[in-house]
C-alpha cells in the first residue's frame, strides 16, 4: 500500500490542494487500513484507493467549508499570476478547473483509472468523463501550457 502513497497525494492535491489534500491523504489511508483485510486478492488496489480518496476529498472539502475560513479558500478560476515556478502555475490552473473536469483529470491521468471507472466514481457516462478530462486538459493547455510548451520543446 505504501507504494501508492505518492500517487494518492498527487490525486488529492489536484482535487483539493494545500493542507486539505494532506488531510484527505491521511483519511484515505486510514480508511484503507480499516478496509484492507476485506479487500479481495484480485482487487485493483490503485483504483480502489482513488475511489476512497474521492470520497475522502469530498468529506474534507465539506468539513473545510463548515470551518469557513475565507482566507484559506482557493478562489475558483484564479490564475495565480507571477508565481515564481511554473509548477505552481500549473497547480493553480488545475485548481481553477471546474470540479468535474478537475476530478476527471486527476482520477484518469494521475490516478490511472480508465474512463469507465472515473465515471463510476464521479457519476455520468464514460464518454462524459472522457470529455470532461479532455476539456480540462485543453483548458490547462490554454491557461498554462502555451508558454511552458514553448520553453520545454527541446527537452
Amino acid at each position: 500500500m505504501a507504494e501508492h502513497g505518492a500517487m494518492v497525494l498527487r490525486v488529492c492535491r489536484a482535487v483539493l490542494g494545500g493542507a486539505d489534500a494532506e488531510d484527505a491523504w491521511s483519511e484515505t489511508f486510514l480508511a484503507a487500513l480499516r478496509a484492507y483485510p476485506e479487500l479481495p486478492d484480485d482487487a485493483n488496489v490503485e483504483a480502489w484507493l482513488v475511489t476512497v480518496a474521492h470520497r475522502k476529498a469530498i468529506d474534507v472539502a465539506r468539513a473545510a467549508a463548515r470551518r469557513a475560513v475565507p482566507v484559506a479558500e482557493v478562489p475558483e478560476n484564479s490564475s495565480a499570476p507571477g508565481a515564481d515556478g511554473r509548477d505552481l502555475d500549473l497547480a493553480a490552473a488545475v485548481a481553477g478547473l471546474p470540479r468535474r473536469q478537475r476530478q476527471a483529470v486527476a482520477y484518469h491521468y494521475l490516478g490511472g483509472l480508465p474512463y469507465q471507472a472515473v465515471a463510476d466514481v464521479i457519476g455520468g457516462t464514460a464518454e462524459a468523463a472522457r470529455r470532461a478530462a479532455a476539456d480540462g486538459i485543453a483548458t490547462l493547455r490554454k491557461t498554462y501550457a502555451a508558454a511552458a510548451i514553448g520553453e520545454g520543446e527541446d527537452r
Binding site: 500500500m1 505504501a2 502513497g5 505518492a6 497525494l9 498527487r10 492535491r13 489536484a14 494532506e22 491523504w25 491521511s26 489511508f29 486510514l30 487500513l33 480499516r34 484492507y36 483485510p37 515556478g85 511554473r86 509548477d87 505552481l88 500549473l90 497547480a91 488545475v94 483529470v105 491521468y109 494521475l110 478530462a133 479532455a134 486538459i137 490547462l140 493547455r141 498554462y144 501550457a145 511552458a148 510548451i149
Partner: protein, 205 residues
C-alpha cells in the same frame, strides 16, 4: 491519435509539483500515529542498524513479533507478516522504541537479557515450545540441540529443535544463536554463520 493525446496530457501534468520523499515520510509518520490511536495498526515496523547488519523489527500490540536479518530479506519478512498476521502494516518506529533501545544496549555489551513483551504468533506447537525455552540458555552460554530437545520434553526431537531454531521469527532476542552442535560446531543460522559467530563472540567478551 487518442494515445498520442493521452501521452501529451500526461507530459503536461508531469509539470505538477513533485511529491518529495520527505513529504511522504512526514505523512506516513502522521498516519502511523493516527492508525495506532484508532487501533487499525496491527503491525508496526522499523529497521535498526546493528553490528550484524540492518535488522527489521516488527511488533503487534502484543509485542515484538519478528526480527529479520537483511540476508533473510526484509521485504519477504514483511510480506509474510501481511499474509500470516495482518496486512495492516506500517513503518511506525514509535512502537519499537523499547525493542530498539534494548537491542542497541545488547550490541553495546550493556544488556544480557531482554525485557520485552514478545508475540509468538508466528510459531506453533513444538516450535513455539522450543523457542520459549531458549531464553533459559544464559548470556554467554551455549546448549546443544539435544539439550534443548530434552528441556522441551522431547529428548529425541533434536532435529525438530534444529527446525525450530532455523525458523525462529525472533532471532537475537530469542537466543537461537546459543544453540550449537554437540561437537561444538556452530551449524546454521538465520542471519548466516558470521552473524552467529559475532553474537557468540560478543557474549563471550
Amino acid at each position: 491519435m487518442i494515445a498520442h493525446h493521452e501521452t501529451e496530457a500526461r507530459d503536461l501534468l508531469e509539470a505538477l509539483p513533485a511529491v518529495t520523499e520527505a513529504e511522504l515520510l512526514g505523512l506516513r509518520d502522521r498516519l502511523a500515529d493516527s492508525a495506532a490511536a484508532q487501533g487499525v495498526l496491527d503491525v508496526a515496523y522499523r529497521t535498526l542498524d546493528t553490528p550484524v547488519g540492518s535488522l527489521l523489527l516488527a511488533a503487534t500490540e502484543k509485542g515484538l513479533v519478528r526480527v529479520a536479518y537483511e540476508v533473510q530479506g526484509h521485504e519477504r519478512a514483511l510480506e509474510s507478516l501481511a499474509a500470516l498476521v495482518s496486512p495492516r502494516i506500517l513503518r511506525a518506529p514509535a512502537r519499537l522504541d523499547a525493542a530498539s533501545r534494548e537491542i542497541d544496549e545488547y550490541f553495546a555489551g550493556r544488556r544480557r537479557t531482554f525485557d520485552l513483551p514478545l508475540d509468538f504468533s508466528l510459531s506453533r506447537g513444538f516450535r513455539a515450545a522450543v523457542l520459549s525455552r531458549l531464553p533459559d540458555i544464559g548470556y554467554g552460554h551455549t546448549a546443544s540441540y539435544a539439550d534443548v530437545a530434552a528441556a522441551a520434553g522431547r529428548p529425541r526431537a533434536f532435529r525438530a529443535v534444529g527446525t525450530a531454531c532455523a525458523t525462529n521469527p525472533l532471532p537475537v532476542v530469542v537466543p537461537c544463536h546459543r544453540v550449537i552442535r554437540s561437537d561444538g560446531s556452530l551449524s546454521g543460522y538465520a542471519g548466516g554463520p558470521a552473524a552467529k559467530q559475532a553474537l557468540l563472540t560478543l557474549e563471550a567478551a
